[in-house]
Amino acid sequence: MSVSVARPNRDVAPRSLVFSVVLGLVSSVAAQDQAAPTQEQLNFFETKIRPVLVTHCHECHSSESKIVQGGLRVDSRDGLLQGGDNGPAIVSGQPEQSLLIKALRHDGIEMPPKGKLPASVIRDFETWILMGAADPRVAKGPVGVSAVDLEEGRKHWSFQPVRDPPIPAVHDASWPVDPLDHFVLARLEQAGLRPVADADRYTWLRRVSLDLTGLPPTPGEIETFVRDNSPHACEIVVDRLLRSRAFGERWARHWLDLTGYADMMGTSNSVFAEHAWRYRDYLIEAFQNDKPFDRFVREQIAGDLLPAASPQERAENITATGFLMVGDVEIVEPDKAKLEADHVDTQVIKIGTAFLGMTLGCARCHDHKFDPIALPDYYGIAGMLRSSPATHKIPFGVWSKLNSTELPETPEQKAARQKLEAEHAEKLAAMKGEQIKLETEKKTVDEQLAAVGASLDGQVAPKLGGESRSDSPTEKTSLTKRRDELAEQLKKLAPRIQHAEFFASKVPHAFAMCDGAQPTDMPIYIRGNPYSPGDVVPRGTIRVASWDAFPPIPAGQSGRLQLADWLADRHNPLTPRVTVNRIWQKLFGEGLVRTVDYFGTRGETPSHPELLDHLATRFLQNGWSQKQLIRAIVLSRAYRLSSTNDNAANKVDPDNRLLWRMNRQRLDAEALRDQLLAVSGELKPTNGGPGLVLEEPENCGELRQSGVNPPNYTHRKPRTGEEFVRTIYLPVMRTSTATHDNLRSFFDFVNPAQIAGQRNQTVVPTQSLFVMNNELFRKRAKTLADQLITDSPQVDARLNQLWLRAFSRPITTAERDAALTFLAELEASLDSQDASTRESLHWQELCHSLLASNEFLFRI
């Protein structure tokens, strides 16, 4: 495999779309002129250089160009000296240092794009630059190069420090429950709107249960709540939900959408990422235990560098850095410099998106076109990550592997693990013993067969055991049969032994970050190309969001620890805002800033800027506790509103940006599948662990340590009971949807190559087909039907139970009549089987009908 250098791949829209950074007019470069050129030099330019520039370059790189590509103009000497996004195009007297020459040679940059110019022309350019690049042309109009103006940039709202705005006064003082309600109501009153009525208790309970845990309330929970007349009934529910493991499972999955998580390393060959699950389990614990968010940030960026009081804590810290490891890493990339640059890029992008709401990836190739983020900002962060090598080339072939770190164990863990290994070794030894036994027997049979064959061929009859054989043809048949049996057994045994040897060690590992041997600043890669290094820039962070100079990085350290501290600092204007906005979005369907992953100048402005800051302030005051913030929000009046439309409000604010009602949402893929299993009573609790079923040899490809391709994984044989675990525990594949359950691929599951804090919500006919005909729905309907029949002999009670389970509310009279009619009609049309089979079928159809309805598929 060979590779061409990356073409600039993430450039941004035309430069004519001007942004809030300043165009620095360049006149100073002229001063760098050497002595006046000779006539001979000028003639050289006129005959050899100018015509080529006009013919091959002016279309895209001159004042006549519709769009000046790459910010480079070659129609004046200043233009060439100043250069474009990549820096100067020529360095007078130094052809080897001149980007223009590299481009003409198609070395890293390819110009002209349609094909290389003849070698003689390239030589002319070298000569011309060597002679001092004589060029009489003067720029028409300004030769601009963007320069990021930080002071101007800081005026953007999201870079301003978080404020603690006063609670606004409202006319209807009886409406607010929480201070945050004042901000909501004040905006509504300003617009002359009124919030709609509160949702009923059943709706609120279903809503808060689904939002906090991804599961509906059970009939028992519903009954307890509606009977609880105390003023604390809601708080009791919320506290119960927040304590549950289901909360951790739900919110960890939200976070995974920001990480590119999958159980596969890259998109090629389904190479399994066998330790990825540890990061997923880390997240579940972190959310369940309400790990303070600042701590959560520090661990994920630099957990390996943090002090730890115990082996468990140390293991947790290391595992947390999986955040930077679990994305789509193209480990088959044969150009390792490119692999490193690309992987660092995904890490920078992830940090930018998840914590800062910034599109940092734009600044890999050039200063950000809209936001005050420059190349040195990007390479300041990239330098830290490059100082912590995340992939290593394996000795054979072209592949790399992800860095993994051995996790410390407690003495008990270690003892348990060694016991497991001993058992494993015993099994392996037994298999090997078996192998030797079979081989020995096969050898004997082979010899006997050879002997029989020889005697049948009319040769001298062999003396076996001193007797001559008379029944050789029969003998041959039975020997052949035995030989084939043995060969078959040996063939089956070999991969099992290989598998057992491959997985002999049970020492826990995690994909993790680790400072390299020589942490160092890195050069800007011109156009993002690792083969075109530019100026070295100090490690640091984005300056526009900084309140102080970046602290010095001690020698021998990557700087990730300092970056982690910066991200999690209470002065950081972005981290708390981005985080509380994400939480709000998960609970209300839309963020206060609807572009949840982008707080830059082209993003949306907050609908309620003061509310956003109010929430961020409370978040900081409460020690970055996510649970406390979530608790406050779901107990607020705003969260309690019905989702019913109101004509008047709809006219003024059709998008409901002012929150006059609750937004409705279709359940996401996980909640949909988990709810199905919960309603049918089949959901099986688990404590996590590997999603991949690597213990089944048939799921693993060839397990040689030195194959051309690394071992791969196919989900042929699921783990027993896997069908019933929560969706977060199912393996996430990158290229196929071939787990036994593919609901995720129909219902907007985030593609694991994507970093996105909010999923699309699409409505397409293939989803309807899924709901109508997929066996996931069909089987749940059957289980549910049979349970209802067993639990409630009486039809009315059974119907009520069904409505409670599927819709989290009692059945209405009209619905009961409709259901009874439906059952009667089916009874009339189905006559084959016996009564109990018929009853089961009728109820299955009824249950399926409810599970396919919008009230089940939506959270209102």
């Binding site: 495999m1 060979s2 590779v3 061409s4 990356a6 073409r7 600039p8 791949n9 993430r10 450039d11 941004v12 829209a13 590509q69 794009p113 349609k114 094909g115 998109t267 044969p334 150009d335 995904t346 809209f370 054979f396 072939g397 072209v398 572009t595 949840v596 982008y598 109101d646 059709p654 409705r664 279709r666 290229t735 949807t737 593919n742 190559a753 994507q754 996105a756 909010q758 699309n760 699409t762 409505v763 397409v764 006919p765 293939t766 309807s768 087909l769 899924f770 709901v771 109508m772 069909r778 439906f822 089916l826 189905l830 159809e845 009824l846 396919a852 309805s853 919008n854 598929l857 209102i860």
Partner: protein
């Protein structure tokens, strides 16, 4: 972040048209067009639709479309590697020149070079425009396939079919704008950040009763009548809810889709059923049980039917071109499987007068090396194959607006680098859009503050190949 969560009623109705057999809904869909609803193209369109024949795996240009004397003369001998030293390859350490599998000869009046392995294509050489200077950026399948379909390798972006559906809307309100037959992975037909109505509908041509053309298409109730009753009840429940809530675009969409999905259970199998085709039609495509070309023949015939009915972008994927070893045996077999179906499609389109306003594109995600590869390290030379090569490869176009019989682009003496007429994937995309009447720099979607394009910030229309 997406821009289309607040879905308008009109958008929702459009979405519901995005499936097969939505006849009954046709009257509801008053404006089934993309967001560029003015319908005015940027320039005069030369074609109305595209059929993309995707040869997944990377067909060997050295065995199909170009012979290099330099290589032929050195068949089996060591040559100098042109690779940069940073680039790793496995199984090519010896750099043995590998000559063509079968003779490549001039064909038609144009004298276009085509291999004996493609006898059908050889007959229509004057109808196709051969691009020998194709160029892409990545040597891995997954990345190169992504780039071919979406313009980029790693980020999740809309596929070209989705962009075209978005740019031009649908020609037939009852059919989707984009269908992908035997799609190679979800990202090749995804709509990325574009509205989901533009995503491709993946379709399988069933060769037996067990395969469904679309997943979950088979009714799971014991009869259609019972399923209908079940769905009737669901509909009543849905109706009641939507009245309580006084309207909801998403829920309305789900209601419409359920009716559409119900009809798709009948209309889709009818659509893919070829039992009413004439024997002549089947023969043209090489369809017949036991024939090597049966599967691809069926797929190509279906592509013609869909295209003729107004599907803007139909993709047919034919895989198996990844010949790392034993190319001498495997490549001829694959040519047998694909040559007649592909050419049958061209001839059928021509007979029906459709070729004039259809663009047919044939290409793999990259090409293969002029030197041999043996990943086992032990195979004899005549069992060697070829490694991936993104630096240069061949593709062809046929149909409206393209110069038939033209060979465009040339590579160096060994067939590694493009020296003339380079066409990068971005240029190919730009040219395809141009033929459809779209300026590739103006077909944009705004996302996280930035206008995105299929061609990113690149792409030049290859004017030289335009008729």
């Amino acid at each position: 972040m997406n821009q289309f969560r607040t879905i308008s009623r009109r958008r929702m109705l459009q979405t519901t048209a995005c499936g097969f057999g939505g006849l009954a809904l046709a009257d509801l869909v008053s404006a089934a067009n993309g967001p560029r609803a003015d319908g005015r193209p940027d320039m005069v369109p030369r074609v109305k639709r595209v059929i993309f024949l995707f040869m997944a795996g990377g067909p060997s240009q050295h065995d199909l479309f170009q012979e290099k004397k330099f290589i032929t003369d050195r068949h089996g001998q060591k040559i100098d590697s042109p690779l940069r030293k940073e680039v790793l390859q496995v199984g090519t350490e010896q750099y043995l020149a590998l000559g063509t599998v079968a003779p490549i000869r001039p064909r038609g009046e144009s004298g276009m070079m085509i291999s004996d392995l493609l006898p059908h294509l050889a007959k229509v050489a004057d109808d196709i425009c051969l691009l020998r200077g194709m160029n892409t950026d990545n040597p891995q399948h997954a990345s190169a396939v992504n780039q071919f379909h979406t313009g980029v390798f790693t980020e999740v972006r809309p596929s070209m079919g989705a962009w075209i559906s978005y740019g031009l809307g649908t020609e037939n309100r009852n059919l989707p704008g984009f269908v992908s037959i035997h799609a190679p992975g979800v990202r090749t037909y995804g709509s990325g950040f574009l509205p989901a109505e533009h995503q491709g509908t993946p379709l399988t041509v069933p060769l037996n009763d067990k395969t469904l053309p679309i997943e979950n298409l088979r009714n799971v109730s014991s009869s259609d009548a019972i399923q209908q009753r079940r769905m009737g009840l669901t509909k009543r429940l849905n109706q009641r809810l939507i009245e309580d809530l006084r309207g909801d675009a998403n829920m309305e969409g789900m209601i419409q889709n359920m009716e559409l999905a119900f009809r798709m259970q009948t209309t889709t199998p009818q659509l893919v059923d070829l039992s009413n085709e004439t024997q002549a039609a089947l023969d043209l495509y090489g369809i017949g049980s036991g024939k090597e070309s049966d599967k691809n023949g069926r797929a190509c015939l279906l592509a013609r039917k869909l295209s003729e009915s107004g599907v803007r972008f139909v993709q047919v994927t034919m895989d198996g071109w990844d010949h790392h070893g034993d190319i001498r045996t495997l490549l001829p077999k694959l040519c047998q499987q694909t040559d007649q179906p592909v050419v049958g499609l061209l001839q059928d389109l021509k007979q029906r007068g459709l070729l004039d306003d259809t663009l047919v594109l044939w290409s793999g995600e990259f090409g293969r090396t002029p030197w041999s590869q043996d990943v086992t390290g032990t195979a004899p030379f005549d069992k060697h194959g070829r490694e991936h090569q993104p630096e240069s490869f061949c593709a062809w176009m046929a149909g409206g607006g393209v110069k038939g019989g033209l060979t465009w682009g040339e590579t160096d003496e060994m067939g590694y680098r493009v020296v003339e007429g380079k066409v990068h994937i971005h240029d190919l995309h730009a040219t395809m859009l141009h033929l459809l009447g779209i300026d590739h720099t103006r077909l944009t979607w705004n996302q996280v503050g930035r206008d995105f394009r299929l061609t990113d910030v690149h792409g030049t229309v290859v004017n030289e190949i335009l008729a």
